[in-house]
Symmetry: C2
Subunit: 262 residues, 2 copies
Amino acid sequence: MMLMTNKAVRQVVAALTYLLMSLLAKVEAMMRRRRERRQSDDNDDDGYCLSWRLGVEANNVRSWRTVPPECYNHVQQYMTGGQYQQDMNLIINQIVAYASQITLSPDSMDAWILDVDDTCISNISYYQGRRFGCDPFDSATFKAWIMKGMCPANPAVLQLFNTLKERGFKVFLLTGRDHATLGKITIDNLHSQGFIGYERLILRTAEYKGQSAVKYKSAIRKEIEGEGYRIWGNVGDQWSDLQGECLGTRTFKLPNPMYFIS
Amino acid sequence: MMLMTNKAVRQVVAALTYLLMSLLAKVEAMMRRRRERRQSDDNDDDGYCLSWRLGVEANNVRSWRTVPPECYNHVQQYMTGGQYQQDMNLIINQIVAYASQITLSPDSMDAWILDVDDTCISNISYYQGRRFGCDPFDSATFKAWIMKGMCPANPAVLQLFNTLKERGFKVFLLTGRDHATLGKITIDNLHSQGFIGYERLILRTAEYKGQSAVKYKSAIRKEIEGEGYRIWGNVGDQWSDLQGECLGTRTFKLPNPMYFIS
């Protein structure tokens, strides 16, 4: 039978107590640091990036070339963490509610306009490789991405597209993509993603080359109205889709904090 | 000298180890619960309310009467926790940057339009008592609040007001408040809060009673332009401040998730 002195027992207990207390202190310090880091993130970068993104979506921040570098994590988290999708869903619900109140005319001239890039189909996976817009726009790699014909549908917009068709609206897809070089791949990409049965896909022909999106898209909408169509809704991820002339009865701005087109 | 058996020492050590392990397990469970609660908040109400508020600010959500009840905490936190102020500051910085690029004409006809309620001066402390807009609008208590003449300045907008004056812009304050009943208290409130030296304060006279804000404010801006003024900027917290005719060269939407005026 082994025996320990009272002193030895007290030493063992003291050592264990010391270990316990220092462990608790470490856990507490860790939790405090996490809390502080979270608050500091909230108050500094995240707060600024929330303001910046709200500024972009409300059209207060204009003509920006790249996402502010300190907002890389924020925009990445926004685009891929679920909030972008949730924002899209809420807007699409607003659009469907608005569309459902419209009484269509028997002349089949009730029209709707949808933009293509980051409206019908998504370039998020391309922009993931461009640090979600923190890197400057690069036309060569973007064109190479488009030529793959691999842009996935925005699920909420595909649902809207089908709802509008079923209700009897004539859906016009209007894009700044170049007709000559990107026409075929754009048609293929849209069809493979389920965008079938639109009234017309309009790409940028030579006569509109070099024009701003506002000017080009206004001219096209004017032509559409000139044919007798009534444009009830106009949906795009850029304010330049929704400004200028013949805007339609109501416009809807989808979120896009990755790039700005004037 | 007291002695402990080896067995007794082992029992003490085992008991202390057990205590330590169960304490650690509790701390870990607590941290997991906190994390899950935070994520679940983010994904449920907070995510929805972020989407709703973005929808309001981007003018996708229109004609709403009250803040969704599940967004009470979100809007309260937004309005009083610092983010609203940060959003205001970012927009005001954008406005000042834009204004600084304008070359003013020597004819002193370069003008700017600012809305009053929740642009120049703030109704947040009134809306605090109306659950930040979750309660329906109540004209009697709102009028009683206005009649106190206690609306504090929005500090960022007061700074903008002074900057615009110093640069030589003629600042027009344009409000839907009733001229006959609220004219005097509005002047007093604005002056006491530092809004001194504006070109004109325009309140709603009898002839515009019952008109929508878009129609009334468009008519006033048309008159101002008719006098020969050039409206360079137009700032308000409601989209109805920034729609219609004679909008000005550039409009700026300040945040307001508490109420909607058509």
